[in-house]
C-alpha cells in the first residue's frame, strides 16, 4: 500500500516539476515590451563627437535587478570600445533623484567608463519608445539606427550573447548578425508594465 502511495506521489511530483519548469520557461522567455524606435538619433540626445564610433543609449529602471546584467555588459563594451559614446538614461517615474543616485544600478552605471548618466523623466523614453529596462539603442556616427533591443541573453544573464555581439559589431562598423533582440527587464514606466 505504501509502495502504491509512493508511486502516486512520485508521479504527482514529477508532473509538478514539469509544470514548474514550464512556468520557468514562460517567464524567462517573456521579454519586455518594445516599441519602434526612431530610425535616426533624435535631437533630445546630443549628437556625438566627431570621432565617436557610435552612440549607445540604454534605458534603465533604477531598481530593476535584471538590468544589472545589462550594465555589466555595457561596462564590458565600454572597456572594449572606448571610442563609442554611452548614454545611460535612468527613468525616474515615482523615484526621487536621491533614490536613483543611491541605487545599485546607478553605481554600476557610474563604473562605466565615460558613460553619460542622465535622469529621464519619461520624455526621452517616449521619444525612443523605450518600454523595458535594459532596452538599448545603437546609432551610427551619422545617427542611423543600427540596433535596438536587449544586450543580455536572458533576465539578469550577463556575459556573451547575441545582442551584445550585435552591438559590438555595430560599433566596429561591421554588419551585425541581428538588428533586434528581445529585452528582458522590468517595465520602465507604469504605462508599459508587463
Amino acid at each position: 500500500m505504501i509502495a502504491n502511495w509512493v508511486r502516486i506521489a512520485g508521479t504527482a511530483w514529477g508532473c509538478g516539476l514539469g509544470l514548474g519548469m514550464l512556468a520557468m520557461v514562460r517567464f524567462e522567455l517573456q521579454a519586455g515590451k518594445a516599441g519602434t524606435p526612431p530610425s535616426y538619433l533624435p535631437s533630445v540626445v546630443a549628437p556625438p563627437a566627431e570621432r565617436a564610433a557610435g552612440t549607445v543609449i540604454v534605458f534603465i529602471h533604477p531598481e530593476c535587478a535584471c538590468s544589472q546584467a545589462t550594465l555589466t555588459n555595457l561596462r564590458d563594451i565600454a572597456s572594449e570600445l572606448p571610442s563609442a559614446r554611452f548614454v545611460v538614461e535612468f527613468e525616474s517615474e515615482g523615484k526621487s533623484a536621491h533614490a536613483i543616485l543611491s541605487s545599485s544600478n546607478y553605481r554600476l552605471a557610474a563604473d562605466i567608463r565615460s558613460a553619460e548618466i542622465e535622469i529621464d523623466y519619461g520624455t526621452k523614453a517616449k521619444v525612443f519608445h523605450a518600454q523595458t529596462s535594459g532596452e538599448t539603442f545603437v546609432y551610427s556616427p551619422a545617427g542611423e539606427l543600427l540596433y535596438s533591443g536587449g544586450i543580455t541573453a536572458s533576465r539578469g544573464e550577463p556575459g556573451s550573447n547575441v545582442g551584445l555581439d550585435a552591438i559590438v559589431d555595430c560599433l566596429r562598423h561591421r554588419s551585425p548578425k541581428v538588428r533586434h533582440m528581445p529585452t528582458f527587464g522590468c517595465a520602465l514606466t507604469s504605462e508599459t508594465s508587463l
Partner: protein, 597 residues
C-alpha cells in the same frame, strides 16, 4: 534539501526580490519560483527520507532533486557563473553514496536539464544563441570530467569498503569461531570443574587444599563434617591453626618450612597417622596424606584427612580379641599343665586321708593297750605318753587333720572344675550348630567369670533341670552369657559404688513353649530411658571410658538373633535393675522353617 530550499528563497529575495513597472513593484516571480517550485522540489525527498528511510530508491529521487536544485539556484541567481559550481558540488555529494549508477543518473538529469534549457532557453543557459551544441558539450564535458574523477573515487572507495567489509567479516567470523571455541572450552572447563567439585564433595575423606603459607583454599563437605567447621569458616583460615592440635603446630610449621626450603619433609608426600582437632577442641585419630600440587606456582598442597578413631578402636578390639584368643590357647595349655599336678595332689590327699584314718585307728589300739598294761615302768611310761599326747595335741590333730585333708580335697576339686570350665570356654568354637546343654554353658561361663562378679555381687543359679538341649554354637553362646554376666556385674558396681555392698545376679533357665529361655537379672542401675533404644547399637556404651567398647551387646544381639534365630530383649527399671531375656529355639531354625512351611 530543506536548507537548499531556504537558500534558494533567500537568494531570490536578495538578488531579485521585486519586479517593477515604473514606480510600482511586486514580488519578483523568482521569489515565487524559489518558494513554490523549490518547495515542491524538496518535498518528495524529505517525505521519503522520513517515512521510508533507507529505501534504496530514495537515493534516485534525492539525486534528481539535488541536480534540479542546481538549475533552480542558477535560475534565481540569474545565471551567475559561480552558481554553476553547485552542480559540481552536488555531484560530489552524490558520490558519497558510492553508487556509480546514481552518479550517472544525476549526470543525466543535469545534462537533460541543460539540454532542454538549451533547446527552449539557449541563451539562459549558454548566454548565446549560437553554437548551442558546442556549449552544451562544453558544459557536459566539465561535468563528465568531474564524473570521471568521482567514478574513480567511487570505485576506489567501494573497493576499499568492500575489502574493509571482507576483513571485518573475516574478523567477525574469526571472533565467532574463537568465541565458539572459548564457549566450548569454557563448557568443558565448567564440566570438569563441576566434576572435580563433585569428586571432592563426594569424597568420604576430608580434602583440604592450602597454599604455601598454609591458608586454606578449598574445604570439602567431608572435611566440614570431620572438623565441625563450615566452608566459610575454613576457607581463608590457617590450616595449621584450625586442624592441627596446639601441641603439634610448631612441628608442622617447621616441617613445612623445611619442605619449602629443601624439599624434604616428614609429612608431605607420605601417608601417616596423627591427631586432628575439631572445632570444639576435641581431638581425633586421623590418617593424613599431604602432597604438593605440582602444577601450582606458588606451591599449593592437598591434604586428605581420614578419621581413623573407629579403625583404631576396632584394631584395639581385634588385638584384645587376639590376646584373649591367645590367652584362651594358653589357658587350654595351662589348664592341661595344672590338671596333671592337681590330679596327683588330689590322689595324695586322698591317700593321706585314708592313711591318717588308719593311723588314728592304730593309735586307738595303742591307747587301749596303754590303759591295760600293769608294770613297774608302766606309770612312768604312761606319764611320758600323756606328756607326748599333750605336746602333740592329739585330740586337735584327730579333729583337724581330717578337716584339712577334706578341705584340700575340696580345693583340688575346685581347681579341677575351674580347669574344666576353662577348657570348655576356651575351646575353639565350631561353626556348625551342635546340640548343647545351655545349663552347662552357663555354669562354665559363670565359673570362668567369677573374678568379674565375686567382688560386687552374689550370683545365684536357677537352672532348670532337664532343660532340653538346643542346637547352638556353644562358643558364641558362652560369649553371650559372659557379656550378660559382666554387664550385670558392672551395673551393680556402678550402683553400689565403693560402699562394699554386694548386689544380686540371678541366672535362670527354663523351657518356655518352643524356646529355651535364659534370664540374667541384676540389681544394678537399670538402663536409662534415653539409652534403651540404643543398647544393641554397635559401639554404644553407658560405661565410662576404658570399661567397655560398646561391642558386647551388639555382638550378643547378632549371635542370638542372626546366628541362632532367637530373641533377646530386656526389662529394666532405673535404680532397681535389669533383666536380660534370651530365647533360643529348641528346634533347629531350618526345621522350624520347614514346620512353618
Amino acid at each position: 534539501m530543506a536548507v537548499q530550499w531556504v537558500a534558494a528563497v533567500a537568494l531570490a529575495l536578495i538578488i531579485s526580490s521585486k519586479t517593477y513597472a515604473g514606480p510600482t513593484s511586486s514580488t519578483h516571480p523568482h521569489v515565487w519560483l524559489a518558494f513554490g517550485y523549490g518547495g515542491l522540489l524538496v518535498s518528495l525527498p524529505i517525505l521519503l527520507a522520513v517515512i521510508r528511510p533507507g529505501v534504496f530508491a530514495n537515493r534516485y529521487v534525492i539525486g534528481c532533486a539535488q541536480m534540479l536544485m542546481s538549475g533552480l539556484l542558477i535560475h534565481v541567481t540569474n545565471g551567475r557563473i559561480e552558481t554553476h559550481f553547485h552542480v559540481f558540488g552536488s555531484l560530489a555529494f552524490i558520490a558519497f553514496y558510492r553508487d556509480w549508477k546514481l552518479l550517472i543518473f544525476a549526470t543525466v538529469v543535469v545534462g537533460a536539464d541543460h539540454l532542454w534549457r538549451g533547446i527552449y532557453m539557449p541563451a539562459s543557459v549558454f548566454g548565446v544563441a549560437s553554437d548551442p551544441n558546442l556549449r552544451w558539450l562544453e558544459h557536459v564535458a566539465w561535468v563528465a570530467f568531474e564524473d570521471v574523477i568521482l567514478l574513480m573515487q567511487i570505485k576506489n572507495t567501494t573497493a576499499a569498503l568492500r575489502n574493509s567489509c571482507i576483513r571485518e567479516a573475516d574478523l567477525e567470523f574469526s571472533n565467532e569461531m574463537i568465541e565458539h571455541a572459548v564457549r566450548l572450552r569454557t563448557a568443558e572447563l565448567t564440566a570438569n570443574q563441576a566434576l572435580t567439585s563433585s569428586v571432592l564433595e563426594s569424597a568420604q575423606d576430608g580434602v583440604v587444599v592450602s597454599d604455601w603459607q598454609g591458608t586454606i583454599l578449598e574445604f570439602n563437605e567431608a572435611a566440614c563434617a570431620l572438623t565441625g567447621y563450615s566452608r566459610e569458616e575454613a576457607v581463608g583460615a590457617s590450616f595449621i591453626d584450625l586442624i592441627v592440635p596446639e601441641s603439634l603446630r610448631e612441628e608442622v610449621r617447621c616441617d613445612l618450612r623445611r619442605f619449602l626450603e629443601t624439599g624434604d619433609s616428614e609429612s608431605i608426600g607420605i601417608r601417616r597417622e596423627t591427631v586432628g582437632m575439631r572445632k570444639d577442641g576435641s581431638e581425633f585419630e586421623s590418617e593424613v596424606s599431604a602432597s604438593m600440587i605440582v602444577s601450582s606456582d606458588p606451591p599449593a598442597f592437598t591434604s586428605f584427612i581420614r578419621d581413623i578413631t573407629t579403625r583404631r578402636q576396632m584394631e584395639s578390639q581385634l588385638a584384645h580379641a587376639q590376646k584373649m584368643e591367645s590367652i584362651g590357647h594358653l589357658a587350654a595349655g595351662i589348664a592341661h599343665e595344672i590338671n596333671t599336678p592337681n590330679q596327683y595332689i588330689g590322689d595324695n590327699a586322698r591317700f593321706l586321708r585314708s592313711s591318717f584314718a588308719s593311723i588314728f585307728a592304730l593309735l586307738d589300739q595303742y591307747e587301749r593297750l596303754e590303759s591295760a598294761v600293769e608294770t613297774d615302768d608302766a606309770p612312768a611310761i604312761r606319764l611320758d605318753i600323756e606328756c607326748a599326747r599333750k605336746k602333740a595335741d592329739l585330740d586337735f590333730m584327730r579333729t583337724e587333720i581330717p578337716n584339712a585333708i577334706e578341705e584340700s580335697l575340696v580345693g583340688v576339686g575346685r581347681v579341677s572344675s575351674i580347669v574344666s570350665a576353662m577348657k570348655d570356654f576356651s575351646h575353639p568354637g565350631v561353626d556348625e550348630m551342635t546340640l548343647s546343654d545351655l545349663n552347662r554353658i552357663v555354669e562354665s561361663t559363670v565359673t570362668v567369670a567369677r573374678n568379674e562378679w565375686k567382688y560386687v555381687a552374689e550370683l545365684k543359679l536357677g537352672l532348670s533341670p532337664g532343660l532340653p538341649q538346643i542346637p547352638c554354637l556353644p562358643g558364641e553362646l558362652g560369649q553371650v552369657v559372659l557379656n550378660l554376666v559382666v554387664n550385670a556385674a558392672h551395673a551393680i558396681a556402678e550402683a553400689n559404688g565403693n560402699s562394699g555392698d554386694l548386689g544380686q545376679i540371678l541366672i535362670s533357665t527354663a523351657e518356655v513353649e518352643e524356646w529355651v529361655e535364659l534370664r540374667v537379672s541384676d540389681t544394678g542401675t537399670g538402663i536409662p530411658e534415653g539409652a534403651r533404644h540404643k543398647v544393641f547399637n554397635p559401639f554404644f556404651t553407658t560405661k565410662e571410658v576404658g570399661k567397655g567398647t560398646g561391642q558386647g551387646l551388639a555382638i550378643t544381639h547378632a549371635v542370638i538373633v542372626e546366628r541362632h534365630g532367637g530373641q533377646i530383649f530386656f526389662e529394666t527399671q532405673a535404680g532397681v535393675g535389669t533383666t536380660f531375656v534370651v530365647r533360643l529355639p529348641i528346634a533347629p531354625v531350618a526345621a522350624a522353617e520347614d514346620a512353618a512351611a
